[in-house]
């Protein structure tokens, strides 16, 4: 009985909170436009960014430092997973999907297309929606699909090649940042080389993100 009252009180509280949130949002919509117009500020400087898509320009050029820390955080998360994941066990065969020819055939057809889609997303990021994070997620999903179909065993202790792949994006990012420190600011690309530097960083990010996201799954399963 007491628990029922508690649930009702919590529900009332949540409804009240939702009402306040909606009221605040309506209030915000009625405010005058902000003094700083960020889309225009980005648009004025697009020439110097080396890419044609504003979102990529913000993520990899204007706020490159944020993206550098993001890949660092993801790498750190994977290191924690490696620390707690069970090591040295024989990979148990996956009985539910081991002998599923339909799933395996589908995975064999789908995975090359997913890799192609990832490369397309990486390339398209320069001038339209796409980019390293979406491409990396598609790569990671391809590896997870292979694992669930029983074609890719779980990862145990990462070997040297896998370690390099996991860290490649972060290392490439830091290498570019260090090489450009002479410019006087962190991650300030010279406009002539900005496009190719961003593509280099994004290629490394895509590989590492795919491996990290797959690793979060494959080291634990």
């Amino acid at each position: 009985m007491k628990r029922n009252y508690l649930a009702q009180a919590l529900g009332l509280l949540a409804a009240l909170f939702a009402a306040i949130l909606i009221a605040v949002m309506l209030e915000l919509a009625a405010l005058p436009p902000p003094a700083v117009n960020l889309p225009d500020a980005v648009g004025v400087r697009m020439e110097a960014t080396g890419v044609a898509h504003p979102v990529t320009a913000v993520l990899l050029n204007f706020r490159g430092y944020d993206t550098l820390l993001e890949i660092g955080v993801l790498l750190l998360a994977l290191l924690v997973v490696l620390a707690v994941a069970p090591h040295g066990e024989k990979a148990p065969p996956n009985p539910s999907s081991r002998a599923d020819p339909v799933l395996q055939t589908l995975a064999r057809i789908a995975v090359p297309l997913m890799v192609l889609a990832a490369v397309y997303l990486l390339w398209a990021g320069a001038y339209q929606s796409g980019g390293a994070f979406q491409a990396g997620a598609v790569l990671g999903a391809a590896a997870v699909l292979l694992h669930l179909a029983g074609l890719l065993p779980r990862w145990d202790t990462p070997g040297a090649r896998l370690r390099i792949g996991l860290a490649a994006g972060f290392l490439a990012f830091i290498a570019v940042a260090t090489a450009l420190l002479g410019q006087g600011a962190l991650l300030q690309y010279p406009p002539a080389q900005a496009g190719s530097l961003i593509l280099l960083i994004e290629a490394g990010l895509t590989l590492s993100l795919g491996l990290i996201l797959a690793g979060l799954f494959l080291f634990l399963s």
């Binding site: 979102v55 069970p86 148990p92 539910s96 997303l121 929606s129 796409g130 980019g131 994070f133 979406q134 997620a137 598609v138 990671g140 999903a141 997870v144 699909l145 669930l148 996201l213 979060l216 799954f217 399963s221």
Partner: protein
């Protein structure tokens, strides 16, 4: 105009409904499937808000990878401690 508004209202209503069902469903498998449905509806929402970059990330990470991870977790839970 009215068609757009109708679609947006339907989308918002189904988002709220699927979010509520995800939390309230006693069957854990149905909850995960509803979570994936919620993620795909949210992708549509981001696309309607003219944010295709976020829509792509939501579809790939939110609905795809997280859904697969949750389904795998259910498999482990129901497998009776096959894996640690």
């Amino acid at each position: 105009m009215t068609a757009d508004l109708t679609f947006d209202l339907l989308l918002a209503a189904s988002l709220l409904w699927s979010a509520w069902r995800t939390l309230a469903t006693p069957d854990i498998f149905r909850a995960v499937i509803l979570f994936i449905v919620f993620g795909l509806l949210l992708t549509l929402g981001w696309a309607r808000l003219a944010a295709p970059d976020i829509a792509l990330a939501e579809a790939a990470i939110g609905a795809g990878l997280t859904g697969a991870l949750l389904l795998d977790a259910i498999g482990v839970l129901r497998g009776g401690g096959k894996k640690p």
